[in-house]
């Protein structure tokens, strides 16, 4: 039972354009969400988070949107850069003090 799903295994965009990575969840108890970025041969690194009391959180080029009614969140990267090419994992938990459940990951490729 995959409670956090990233339905797009891969995404390819041009440099300078917007990248939109999507994530859906089924557990209505989830109220804290995170995005991690992973380069090959490295561990994941924390990117940005959002709690359910918000519907948007922004950090530089990265913005996460949360639609609780649809149980959907998305990560927007604007403008996309070749260095953003990585696997992006969505994760969720029932509260910031609880264990994380990860999605399968989306491979983002930003072409120069």
């Amino acid at each position: 039972d995959q409670q956090v799903k990233q339905n797009s295994p891969s995404l390819s965009v041009q440099e300078g354009r917007i990248s939109i990575l999507n994530c859906d969840y089924t557990n209505s108890m989830f109220d804290y969400f995170l995005w991690y970025k992973k380069y090959p041969a490295e561990g994941p690194t924390f990117l940005i988070s959002i709690s359910s009391i918000k519907d948007k959180n922004e950090d530089g080029r990265f913005t996460v949107f949360l639609n609780k009614s649809a149980k959907h969140l998305s990560l927007h990267i604007v403008p996309s850069q070749p260095g953003d090419s990585a696997v992006y994992f969505c994760a969720a938990s029932p509260g910031s003090g609880s264990r994380l459940t990860f999605g399968e990951g989306t491979q983002l490729t930003v072409n120069p």
Binding site: G43, F46, S49, F89, S96, G97, R99
Partner: protein, 114 residues
Amino acid sequence: DAGITQSPRHKVTETGTPVTLRCHQTENHRYMYWYRQDPGHGLRLIHYSYGVKDTDKGEVSDGYSVSRSKTEDFLLTLESATSSQTSVYFCAISPGQKLNTEAFFGQGTRLTVV
């Protein structure tokens, strides 16, 4: 970068042999975790620790045991390795008084069971 070191970085072992992976941190963080990453599954929690000698199971703990005798070290043991345990294993740490949140990950250990 958070001070996390995983050893070994790569290992090939035979089915039925015991294997121990080590995670060492220099951050004095309370929480430590072991995850495995597999295609189509993302990252799945194996075990975690919330202090010395305090550990708990994650979602895929069968076939694995852990120990934490010192704050800085968290060991993952496969008592009798199976081919299904071929994976990339990540250790992670997180500070503060709450479990998880913005965990910092090690570089991973690629384990192949033949």
